[in-house]
Structures are given as structure tokens and as C-alpha cells.
């Protein structure tokens, strides 16, 4: 099954993130944008990137060498994350679509990073509903993520009944408990989703609502699942997020010993 994918990169301060580069073990440098395309691999045949108004040329040049079919959708003014997704309605049509946030860098615990999207697609195919990747996240990071709660229906698979945007731990403890997590950990969005077109319908019905609110409606309207994927995500928009991504990438490569020595040397000074 070939899917379409929507990447959002139009948020204030996000327009440069896809252009950031990370050093790889082969002495090359790869942009975050290219890492995202790697994530989509062959599962997707069409990609739309929502970009800020008048920024299309910059993004076109960034992906010029990728060889992928990419549509750039401009968000005329910064009206939020949910609005950015809703702009892709014509592009998506009436089909399920993958959605990635443009300010994250991903690593799989094992194998290629595309295995993460492959797993999401597999669950969607088996369950026939929207699936969001989530990560067990400690409560101190709740101010940075949307989070979901609901009963476990399989290994690392949850039926979502509650979605909250950046909840406080007070609220999370009351409504976002999920089986199998350590105390003080919650299912926070990983940044990769596979949505049915119902989401775009909900966004169209109530313009101006947040994505979390729309997802809460989605969970009530149809089955909506969340799964913990075997990987890690890094918010490159956060302070030292890019550094963290670089370290994680390098420590997972053949340069691990060298990087460890480097860090140790810096620490010992």
C-alpha cells in the first residue's frame, strides 16, 4: 500500500530546522530533511511539506536532489499546527496519510529508521484505523508534547480514549494512565502518525481547534490507536536538541568510541 505523507515545517522558528545538518560516520553531512525522507523510504509515493508563506523556493532547493515527488503547501500565516495539517486536505484526498513533524530527528533502536514507519503502516493495515506513534516519556517533559491515555489492547498497543496537549502531571495522573509504563511516565506523541481522512474532516468542521482537540474528537468518532515504536525521537527545536541528535547518531555509529573519548575529555577538563 502506497501512502501519501504530510510533513509540517511551517511553525514559527521551524523554517530552518529541516536545513540543519548532522555529521555521519562516513564523514558526510546529511540534512534533517533528508533524514525525514529516509524515514518514509519506499512506503510513500507522494510527499507534501507545509512551509511558511514565501519559503517554498528555499525548501525546493533543499530537496532538489532527493528525487522524490514533493509538493510544497504554503501556510499563509502562522495559525497553528492543526491548521497546517488541514491545508493538506486537497493533497491527501480521501485516503489515509502519514504525518511527520518537521522538527524531530528519529533513530530506530535496531535496523533502518524506515522500520518505524513500516511498523505503523503494518498496524494500520491490520486494525484499519488511525495510529499514532508514542513514546513513554517522563512527566518532566510533558510541557513539550501532546499525550494520550487509554487501555492496552496488545503489546505496546493502546486504544486511545484521551488526548491532551502538553498536559500537567496533575491532569496526566488523573486521566492518562496507561498499563505497562513506569510511574510518572506517559504516552507522549513520537511525531509520526498515520491518520484516516476523518481527521481532516474534523479539522474542517471546527477550524481553529488544536490538533489534540481534533484527535480527542477522532478517538470518540472512530477507533484510534497508539503504539510505542522501538526508536527514539529528538526535538531539534529545543535547546541543545540538535546536539543531542548528533550525539545519539554518532554514538550509534562506528564512531562510538571516538565520540565517547571526546565527551570524556571535555568532561574531565
Amino acid at each position: 500500500m502506497k501512502l501519501k505523507a504530510v510533513i509540517t515545517a511551517a511553525g514559527p522558528g521551524q523554517q530552518h530546522l529541516l536545513h540543519q545538518t548532522l555529521a555521519t560516520a562516513d564523514s558526510g553531512r546529511t540534512t534533517i530533511g533528508d533524514f525525514l525522507l529516509e524515514l518514509l523510504a519506499n512506503a510513500v509515493d507522494e510527499i507534501a511539506i507545509v512551509v511558511p508563506a514565501a519559503h517554498t523556493p528555499r525548501f525546493q532547493s533543499l530537496f532538489a536532489a532527493s528525487g522524490r515527488r514533493i509538493t510544497f503547501i504554503e501556510q499563509p500565516e502562522p495559525r497553528g499546527y492543526a491548521h497546517a495539517i488541514s491545508l493538506a486536505r486537497d493533497f491527501v484526498g480521501n485516503s489515509p496519510f502519514l504525518h511527520l513533524v518537521g522538527d524531530h530527528f528519529y533513530l530506530a533502536d535496531q535496523g533502518p529508521v524506515s522500520s518505524l514507519t513500516a511498523e505503523l503502516i503494518r498496524i494500520h493495515a491490520a486494525e484499519g484505523c488511525s495510529v499514532s506513534a508514542v513514546s513513554a516519556t517522563r512527566e518532566g517533559l510533558l510541557p513539550y508534547f501532546g499525550a494520550v491515555g487509554g487501555p492496552a489492547i496488545g503489546p505496546k498497543l493502546y486504544q486511545v480514549d484521551t488526548v491532551l496537549e502538553k498536559p500537567t502531571p496533575t491532569e496526566a495522573e488523573r486521566v492518562l494512565t496507561a498499563a505497562g509504563l513506569r510511574q510518572g511516565h506517559y504516552l507522549c506523541f513520537f511525531g509520526i502518525h498515520l491518520f484516516t481522512p476523518a481527521l481532516l474532516q474534523i479539522l474542517a468542521e471546527q477550524p481553529g481547534q488544536s490538533l489534540s482537540a481534533a484527535l480527542q474528537t477522532l478517538s470518540r468518532r472512530e477507533r484510534y490507536l497508539a503504539t510505542i515504536l522501538p526508536g527514539r525521537r529528538f526535538d531539534i527545536g529545543a535547546k541543545y536538541g540538535l546536539l543531542q541528535s548528533q550525539l545519539a547518531l554518532a554514538l550509534g555509529s562506528s564512531d562510538r568510541e571516538e565520540i565517547l573519548s571526546l565527551v570524556l575529555e571535555l568532561t574531565a577538563r
Binding site: 517522563r138 512527566e139 518532566g140 517533559l141 510533558l142 510541557p143 500537567t168 502531571p169 496533575t170 491532569e171 496526566a172 495522573e173 488523573r174 494512565t177 510511574q183 510518572g184
Partner: protein, 1072 residues
């Protein structure tokens, strides 16, 4: 049916059988066997409440039955006492049971076991409540967050936009308890007996009548971002503020008057409890939460004119208001403004319980009722699987609040048209009442259990009356509740003052007075009086006078904290509500600026932050009408007010023959360390041992005829010592203890003095009441035959070293961990107070009567010589040979013919009554000091361990042969009339008596019923030291405990009733 069955049976008819029906008249062996079974149950049962009930049964069994039935004489091992002091109750029980196994049961061991089991029971219950609060969903994370990197809260973006920063304002009503519910909202009760825990609770707005304002939410709180990196806490009504710059300061609750605000900040999660001791920077947390470097938060609380002790749960609702405010600001509550949703109210209530625990206080689960709107039925709920309480207790921690929407608006209006709410002026600690209530519930004591069932029925009837709008019936039910179940469960919930008010209302308004309504844990503070709507205007007008008249009549015998007030009130239909003030409206309350602006204006303008300058300009622009009020705040009208008390104290001392030179010598000795707490002790080389059998006589009935003849021959007079002001009874409030009507026998409240006078009347002996400066006039006004006390001392600020010695060297009872922390913090503040005020300086910063002190009861008898009272007695009763001298609070002390006969037969100058020592008997006893038997005071013993090796405790009751007494003073009956002989004789004898420095607690009242307790140093001479005189031969007689025990503390009242002592007095009063 054994006691064990009453705990383990599943049949309610068995479980609810009263404890007493089994325990009365059991043999020692049977009692011990049952105690052993209960001890096994309390160790092995998985059920928390079975364990707690077993512990309370054990405590009662030992305290009231084995202390009487046990035949052994083993003393309490000191190590067990140390365990009890350190709250290591389990270890104490183990040691005491080991001693019991080795030496047999004894009254002393059982008294200590009773204390340890009781401590363990309440510790177990408190731990369970604490655990439930911590486990309450939404509260847990706060105890895990200990690092800035884990800090998860951010302020609502609407609050962080500057110029000016918006202000979030929360206004909260207080709660009024309609049904009282027999204290069923105590957590321990509700969690064990959820089906019996229900209340009808009404949120109300208040205004003090006559202050020119209409009712409004009495509690307000404010929060805003400020451009300084501190947490600024301001209590407008207490006139206190602090810029908290470190976590250490924030967690120091008793450092200032801002403990409640600090508890709210922590309980709200704004600064989570897990941060305590983490070493994190408060400024960094503030930067994280505000998202603005260099910024902080200001939190302001304001209680509008409601005095302390109002019984409206003002402090809990203030705590809840502050918590709701902070939780809204940090987005833990969904709505920034407006009323709360039900889920949010529940989490606020749970956090308020946490806050109360942090602040070392506690209330019932209905107390945060002001958070909810209108009239609601609050009922406990059974715990179900999934609840944190499930498996531990039958009930949940938090009850369910249901709006009583079936109460029509007309009924609410009718209630407002009939009810007169007042504050009677008393502010009392209800803590002992709540403990008594819990204990009686667990024992299913007969009257308590019946009363509880009756109160449950009354609640249903009250709810019906409310629905029907039948306020007259409602009032008759609240009156019946007060007269019936409430006082059946806790007799001390009522008092003579309240009865006087009810009687006055009945007298003035007849059938138009519909009933009395007790509002909280006990009466005397916040109370309701219900009148017909037609009579209410007249009642409102009359009530201030009724209150003032009753208060003035009882001013000296009750601890009044404030002047009584009458309220206007209205039912609040919103609960707690918040609003956001922005732009030019971003101002706090006028009282806030009147409090804060003077200190700002005293600074140079350039030193104020830009925000502060702009804010003052806004205030000046919008509140020009406050110029005069601000002027008055900046330049106080009475700059010498603080000296007024001091000046009058010295005048009063001069009037009473205060010896200033002797005082200066005393101060010099105290400052130089020649006298002091540590110097009270006997020299280290003194040999102190327990007395032997031959030193203490047992009562022998054979002496009764001689005593009878002596009394019949008018040879005896009774002297009651009543110079004290009940330091322990009122925790330093300074009332005339003798006149305090502490208990009701039949229709009348009796004071200590009433009882002592009645005993003397029935014995047919002359009776003299000795007084001090503080108690003379009020006692003389009762018509008692009074000996005027003339000795007076001026209290001093204690020495730093003495306070350290008292708190750190002398053994102290540890409190529950959080309360101990608060106490330690308070003590650190008091040490600072000593530093600032000056060691050994005069204590004058209080009412004159709180600055002076009686100089010990040694003087009370010599005063009889000095003021001619003994001479008068001898003149009026020429056969008089003997005096029976005792304390006002030794209620069992009577003019016993047997003891008098025994005294006469011994030929001793003085016979001292002693009792076998039990756990609570602290403060000395009978000892062999260097081989000579004599009484020793606890404060002169080198260690407390020695005290507990002395088997006899002094009762303070003495039989004295008058001629022997005169002889030791160097006087005769003839020279008694010669002041030039008497005065030097008393002075000489006084010089032979040691002076002890003691530290007492004294209350200072301020504001609206607020109280501070200060330690003060005073000196005392004590009558017991007469036994050390070689030329004053004494004998010692062991008397029954009920005869010798003294009532020093309110908490002793319940045991006093339960051990049968009260019944003996009741028989006496019945003959009145």
C-alpha cells in the same frame, strides 16, 4: 463474646457492641488474657481498621481496667518512656510487655502501655490518611519531582504578558455546616464508617454587621508575575510579607506568619514537595515556570474581617483558594477564570488536605466546602477496587459532593431571613475534641454510638426540612442535635457561655427564637441563632448586647480571643471563582496597597522596579480617595501604643508592693547564670533514691473515728489554692482556672471553685480560697472566703541558653514528623525573638495580666499569715488545729476523716498525700534525698530517669498542724496579729526555700483573634520544699489515684469521665 469478637465479627450487631459491656468487672487474669489476644490481632491482622481498633481497645483496657486491677508494683522502664517520647511506640510496647512478662502486670506498666498503644493507634491512622493523600491521583508526581530538569509546570500564557502583568484573582466563600454530623467528617471516622459520614454544607458570603458592607466571599487570593526573581508572599490581613529567595526558606513554615501561603504554594505543586532539600535554585524554578528570566511570582491572601475561631473553616478555604489560584495559573486546572469543574474541585480539596498536613494542622473533609457552590450534601464513599484506599480502609479519602438542587430558592431565602450568625469571641483548639471523638467511636461507647445513630437520623430530617423550606422545624432539629447527640458524644462541645446566650435569646424572644445551631467542632466561636423572620431584625439589633453581656460576665473564666461580632450572610451559589485583571484594571485590593505602599514609598523611587513604579501610579490614579487612609498607615496615629502596656505593667507592680531591688538582684543572678533552668538541679553529689516501704503509710480506716471527732469538734479548715491561671488548661490564655465552668453536672455547669466550695460545705468545715494578684478580684466576686495574694513577679524574656536547654537537653515528647518540623521552625523563630528582645529583659509586650505572674504556691499559705486570714480563722474557730491544703484542680481531694485521723495520730507537722506513679505523672515525687524522705520537684532532679525510678508522685494535698506550722515560722497564735513579727518570719522562711526558674508559655493576642505563644521565664517557690526542713517533721500516706489526680489539661477530661471520677463529683453535686 470477647473483645476480639467485636473486632473480627462480620455481624454489625456484634461489632457495634460497646467496649465497656465486656471489660467491666473482669479479673486481672481475664483482662491480661484478652490483652494478649488483642495484641496478637493488632500485629497480625491485614486489615488496618481491625488493627487500629485492637490498639484502641488495648489502650482502654490498660488505662481504665488494668491500672486498677493489676496487682504488681513494677515501675516503668525508662527506655520505654524514651521510646514513647520519640514516637517509637512499637518498641515501647515491646519493652513494656517484656517487663510485664518478667515482673507481672502493674498499674504503672499499664499506664505506659495505654499511652503507647494509643499513640500507635493514632499514628497508624494519621499515616493512612497521609498515604491516601499522597497516592491521590494528581498528587503523586509532586513527591517525585526533585530537580529543575523534571519541573513540569508553566504559567498560563495569559499571565506572562508584561506591562503590566495581569493579575489572577480568586474569591472563595467559606462553608457553614448545617448538620454538624457528629464530627463524622473526621478522616479516620469517614474512612472506616462511610455510611455514617454525611453532612449538609452551605457555602456562604459574610460581612461583619455594622461595618457598612454587604456580604461577599470572605476569602480572596491573588497571583501575578513580578519583575523580581523571588516568590513574594503577602498576607494582607495578617500584615505580613516576605520575599522568599530560596527553597529552604519556603519549606520553613513557622519562620513567619506566612506558613499557610507556603503550604499552598507547595500543595498546589507550584513548588512541588519533592523539591525540599534538593538544593535547587528557587530563582531557576521561577524562571522555568514564568518563562521569563529575572521574573518571579507574587501571591497574596486576604481574609475579609473574619476573626479566627469562626467555625467557618476559614483557614482551610483560604488554603483551598490559594491552591485553586496556583493550580489555575499553572494550568493544572482547565479553566483560568470562572468557577471550577467538579473534577478540579476534587483535586483542589485533595490538595487542601495535603496543605493542612504540610502546615501541621488538620480539619475534616467537609472543610473545603467553600470551593463548591450553594447547598450540598457531602457523603463519604466506600472504597472500590482501583482506589488507593481499597483494601486499607472501607471508605475513600475524599467524599462526594452533591448539589441539593431540590432545595428551592424560596427555602434558601427563608433561611437567610431567619438565621443570625455570630462569632461568640472564643477561639479554642478543637484538636483534643477530635481525638476524643475518634476514640469513642472506635470503642463504640454506649452514649457515643447511640448519639451517632441519632445524629444520622437528624440529618435526614434536616434535609427534609430544608427541602420544604420549614426553617422553624430546621431550627428545632439543630437545637435538638446540640442538646442531644452532640453533647452526648462530647459533653465539652457545649459550654456555660453558649447556654447563657441561648437562655438570653429564649428570654428575650420567647417563641420567636426557634433554635440554636452549633457550627463547628465546639461552641463559643461561630454559632447560629434562628428566629422567626419577623423577629430577625430585632434579634440582629439585640444580639450584640446579648453577646457582650454574657461575655463580660464570663470574661475571666473563658479564654475569649476577640470581641463578639454579628454577621450578615448570604448563600453563595458560585463556589470559588476567578477573574483576570488586565491593563489598567491590573490592580490588587485596596487593603493590599495600604499595607504595601508605605514601605515602597519610604524607598527612593529609583530603587523600585519599573513595574512597581507603574503600579503605584495606577493605584494613585484610580484610588485618590484612599489618600487619608494611606497617610494614616504611613504615619501611625499612636506612636507610643506599644509602650502603653509596659507602662501600665510597672504601675500595677508598684501598686502591689513589687520589690524592684529584689527583682534586679534576681535578674542579675539570672543573667550571670547563678540561677537558671540548669541550676535548678540539686548538686551532682546528691544521692537520690526511691523511698522504702516504711517511709509511706497506707490508709487505715482505724483512724476514722479520731478524724470524725476532730471535724465534729471544728478542728479542721480546708484551704484551696487557686492562684493559678491555668497555663496548661488554656495553653497560656490567662483565665482564672478556678472559675472556669469546665463540666456540666445535671443542668448546671460547674467550675473548679464551685466543686471545692460544695465539698467544704458538705463536710461542714471552714473553707478559704487562696489567690494571687491575678485571681483575687474575680474569685472574691463569687463570694468565696478569699485570702488575698500579694506576691507578684514580672516575667522575663528567657535566656537563650535556657531555651536551648529546655528544648534540646530536657526530654521532650516528639510530635508527628511534619508537626515536629513546624514546631522546630517556630522555636528557631523564638530564639531569634530572644536575641532581638534581649535575654533577661522585662517581658512587657503584652497585656499587663500576661506580663506578671504569681510567684509559686509556696506563698499561698504564708499569705494567710501575712494578710491576717489565718488569724481570722482562728478567731472565728477557736478549736481550729488542722488545715487541709490542696490545689483547686484536685477534684477528688476531700476533708477525709480517716486521713485527718491518721495525721493526728502520726504527730507529724504535715502529712503529704502521695499516689503510685503512672506514666503521666511528671514533675517530681517522693524520694530519699541523702537518706532523708522528702518531696522533690522534677525540675531539680539531675535526670528524668531518676524521676521514673521514684514510685510515688506528689498530689499537692497536705494535712498541716497549725501550731507546728507556726512554730517552724517562729510564730505563735498570739504573735499572728503582730505584723512586725509575721513579716520577718515569712521573709526568713522564704529565704530557706529554693527559688526555681521555670519557663512558661504565654499567649499574645493580636489582629482578629490571632495568637502567638511566647516562652517566658519566671521564678517560683513551691510548698513541697517545706518537707526538706529538718524542723518540720512530715509523714507520707498513699491515697487512691482518683483522690490525688489533678486536672491540668483539657485532654484529661475524657479519661476523668471514663475512670469514674466525674461520677463521684456528680453524686456530690446532686446533693447540692
Amino acid at each position: 463474646m470477647t473483645l476480639l469478637d467485636r473486632i473480627t465479627s462480620t455481624d454489625p450487631a456484634v461489632r457495634n457492641l460497646p467496649f465497656e459491656t465486656w471489660a467491666n468487672n473482669q479479673s486481672e487474669a481475664s483482662l491480661l488474657a484478652e490483652a494478649a489476644r488483642l495484641d496478637t490481632l493488632r500485629r497480625e491482622s491485614a486489615n488496618l481498621y481491625d488493627r487500629v481498633r485492637a490498639l484502641v481497645f488495648l489502650s482502654t483496657l490498660h488505662r481504665f481496667h488494668l491500672t486498677v486491677a493489676a496487682s504488681g508494683a513494677q515501675l516503668i522502664p525508662y527506655s520505654a518512656i524514651e521510646h514513647i517520647r520519640g514516637r517509637r511506640f512499637d518498641q515501647a510496647v515491646a519493652e513494656l510487655l517484656a517487663a510485664q512478662a518478667a515482673h507481672g502486670a502493674s498499674p504503672a506498666l499499664s499506664s505506659a502501655l495505654a499511652t503507647a498503644y494509643r499513640g500507635l493507634a493514632f499514628q497508624t491512622l494519621a499515616d493512612q490518611v497521609r498515604l491516601s493523600v499522597r497516592r491521590f491521583p494528581g498528587n503523586q508526581w509532586m513527591f517525585r519531582t526533585g530537580h529543575i530538569a523534571d519541573y513540569p509546570l508553566r504559567l498560563h500564557p495569559d499571565l506572562t504578558k508584561p506591562a503590566p502583568f495581569p493579575i489572577l484573582h480568586e474569591s472563595t466563600p467559606v462553608r457553614m455546616d448545617l448538620t454538624h454530623s457528629a464530627w463524622s467528617d473526621i478522616f479516620f471516622l469517614a474512612m472506616d464508617y462511610p455510611e455514617g459520614a454525611r453532612v449538609i454544607n452551605i457555602s456562604v458570603d459574610l460581612a461583619v454587621r455594622g461595618a457598612g458592607q454587604s456580604p461577599r466571599p470572605p476569602v480572596e487570593s491573588f497571583l501575578r508575575v513580578i519583575d523580581e526573581p523571588v516568590l513574594r508572599l503577602v498576607s494582607v490581613d495578617l500584615g505580613a510579607s516576605a520575599d522568599v529567595a530560596s527553597l529552604e526558606e519556603l519549606f520553613d513554615f513557622a519562620r513567619d506568619y506566612l506558613g499557610l501561603l507556603k503550604a499552598a504554594v507547595i500543595a498546589s505543586g507550584l513548588i512541588p514537595g519533592g523539591m525540599e532539600g534538593s538544593g535547587q535554585s528557587l530563582a531557576a524554578i521561577l524562571e522555568c515556570v514564568t518563562g521569563r528570566p529575572g521574573c518571579g511570582i507574587e501571591i497574596v491572601s486576604q481574609v475579609n474581617d473574619i476573626p479566627k475561631g469562626s467555625r467557618f473553616a476559614v483557614s482551610t478555604n483560604l488554603l483551598a483558594s490559594l491552591i485553586a489560584l496556583c493550580m489555575r495559573a499553572t494550568r493544572q486546572i482547565r479553566t483560568l477564570t470562572g468557577p471550577l469543574e467538579e473534577d478540579d474541585r476534587r483535586i483542589v480539596a485533595a490538595r487542601a488536605i495535603l496543605g493542612e498536613w504540610l502546615g501541621g494542622s488538620g480539619g475534616g473533609w467537609q472543610d473545603s466546602g467553600g470551593v463548591w457552590p450553594g447547598i450540598k450534601l457531602i457523603a463519604a464513599e466506600e472504597a472500590v477496587p482501583g482506589d488507593p484506599e481499597h483494601g486499607a480502609s472501607r471508605g475513600r479519602l475524599l467524599p462526594r459532593h452533591r448539589q441539593m438542587s431540590d432545595v428551592p430558592a424560596e427555602a434558601r431565602r427563608k433561611l437567610e431571613a431567619s438565621l443570625v450568625l455570630v462569632h461568640g469571641g472564643m477561639s479554642q483548639d478543637v484538636g483534643p475534641i477530635l481525638e476524643m471523638c475518634t476514640e469513642r467511636y472506635l470503642l463504640r461507647s454506649g452514649p457515643e454510638w447511640q448519639g451517632r445513630q441519632q445524629a444520622i437520623q437528624i440529618l435526614d430530617q434536616l434535609a427534609d426540612a430544608l427541602r420544604q423550606g420549614d426553617i422553624q422545624k430546621l431550627a428545632s432539629l439543630t437545637q435538638a442535635n446540640y442538646d442531644g447527640p452532640i453533647q452526648a458524644i462530647i459533653p465539652w462541645a457545649g459550654n456555660a457561655y453558649t447556654e447563657a446566650l441561648i437562655a438570653a435569646c429564649r428570654q428575650q424572644f420567647g417563641a420567636d427564637f426557634w433554635g440554636f445551631w452549633m457550627l463547628g467542632g465546639m461552641s463559643g466561636g461561630g454559632m447560629g441563632f434562628v428566629f422567626s423572620p419577623e423577629a430577625k431584625p430585632a434579634a440582629l439589633a439585640a444580639m450584640p448586647n446579648i453577646l457582650a453581656t454574657a461575655k463580660n460576665a464570663m470574661q475571666t473564666s473563658f479564654p475569649f480571643a476577640v470581641e463578639p461580632v454579628v454577621y450578615d450572610f448570604a448563600v453563595n451559589e458560585n463556589g470559588t471563582v476567578a477573574e483576570l485583571r488586565t491593563g489598567t484594571e491590573a490592580l490588587l485590593s485596596v487593603p493590599y496597597y495600604l499595607f504595601r505602599a508605605p514601605s515602597d514609598l519610604r524607598q527612593e523611587t529609583r530603587l523600585l522596579t519599573a513595574e512597581r513604579r507603574a503600579e503605584l501610579a495606577r493605584f494613585a490614579h484610580t484610588h485618590r480617595d484612599q489618600t487619608e487612609a494611606l497617610f494614616d498607615r504611613m504615619i501611625p496615629r499612636e506612636p507610643v501604643a506599644t509602650n502603653a502596656a509596659g507602662a501600665s505593667v510597672y504601675a500595677l507592680l508598684n501598686e502591689n508592693g513589687f520589690d524592684a531591688a529584689a527583682r534586679e538582684q534576681l535578674r542579675a543572678d539570672y543573667r550571670a547564670g547563678r540561677i537558671g533552668l540548669a541550676q535548678n538541679r540539686l548538686p551532682a553529689n546528691t544521692v537520690i533514691e526511691d523511698v522504702r516501704e516504711e517511709h509511706v503509710a497506707q490508709i487505715s480506716a482505724s483512724h476514722q473515728p479520731a478524724g470524725h471527732a476532730a471535724i465534729a469538734g471544728h478542728q479542721l479548715a480546708v484551704i484551696t489554692m487557686a492562684g493559678g491561671v491555668g497555663s496548661r488548661w488554656t495553653k497560656g490564655a490567662g483565665v482564672v482556672k478556678a472559675l472556669h465552668p469546665f463540666h456540666r453536672f445535671g443542668p448546671k455547669y460547674w467550675s473548679f471553685l464551685d466543686i471545692q466550695r460544695e465539698k467544704a460545705r458538705q463536710a461542714g468545715v471552714p473553707h478559704v480560697v487562696t489567690t494571687s494578684y491575678l485571681t483575687y478580684a474575680p474569685i472574691a466576686a463569687t463570694g468565696a472566703n478569699v485570702s488575698q495574694g500579694r506576691s507578684i513577679g514580672l516575667r522575663m524574656v528567657p535566656k537563650f541558653a535556657d531555651l536551648r536547654y529546655l528544648w534540646e537537653v530536657l526530654p521532650q515528647q516528639q510530635l508527628d514528623a511534619q508537626k515536629q518540623k513546624v514546631r522546630d521552625s517556630g522555636r528557631a523563630s523564638l530564639l531569634n525573638w530572644v536575641r532581638q528582645t534581649g535575654e533577661a529583659s522585662d517581658y512587657t509586650d503584652n497585656l499587663p495580666s500576661q506580663c506578671v505572674h504569681p510567684v509559686g504556691h509556696w506563698y499561698e499559705l504564708p499569705n494567710l499569715l501575712l494578710n491576717g486570714k489565718l488569724h481570722q480563722l482562728l478567731t472565728e474557730n477557736p478549736n481550729l488545729e488542722y488545715l487541709f491544703l490542696h490545689n483547686i484542680d484536685t477534684l477528688g481531694a476531700t476533708a477525709s476523716e480517716t486521713l485527718l485521723g491518721q495525721h493526728i495520730a502520726s504527730g507529724a507537722a504535715m502529712t503529704v498525700e502521695v499516689i503510685g506513679r503512672q506514666y503521666d505523672d511528671h514533675g517530681g515525687g517522693l524520694a530519699l534525698v541523702n537518706g532523708q524522705p522528702r518531696l522533690v520537684e522534677g525540675l531539680c532532679l539531675p535526670s528524668e530517669e531518676i524521676e521514673f525510678s521514684l514510685r510515688y508522685y506528689n498530689t499537692g494535698s497536705y494535712w498541716i498542724t497549725i501550731d507546728a506550722l507556726l512554730k517552724v515560722f517562729g510564730l505563735t497564735r498570739a504573735t499572728l496579729t503582730d505584723p512586725s513579727a509575721v513579716q520577718p518570719a515569712v521573709r526568713r522562711m522564704a529565704q530557706r526555700m529554693p527559688s526555681y526558674i521555670t519557663i512558661k508559655e504565654v499567649k499574645k493576642r493580636w489582629g482578629r483573634g490571632q495568637e502567638d505563644v511566647f516562652p517566658v521565664a519566671q521564678f517560683e517557690r513551691l510548698w513541697g520544699d517545706m518537707t526538706a526542713l529538718p524542723d518540720f517533721p512530715c509523714q507520707y500516706v498513699e491515697v487512691p489515684r482518683r483522690r490525688g489526680q489533678q486536672l491540668k489539661d483539657v485532654a484529661q477530661l475524657d479519661p476523668w469521665v471514663r475512670d469514674g471520677s466525674a461520677a463521684e463529683i456528680e453524686a456530690l453535686t446532686a446533693a447540692h
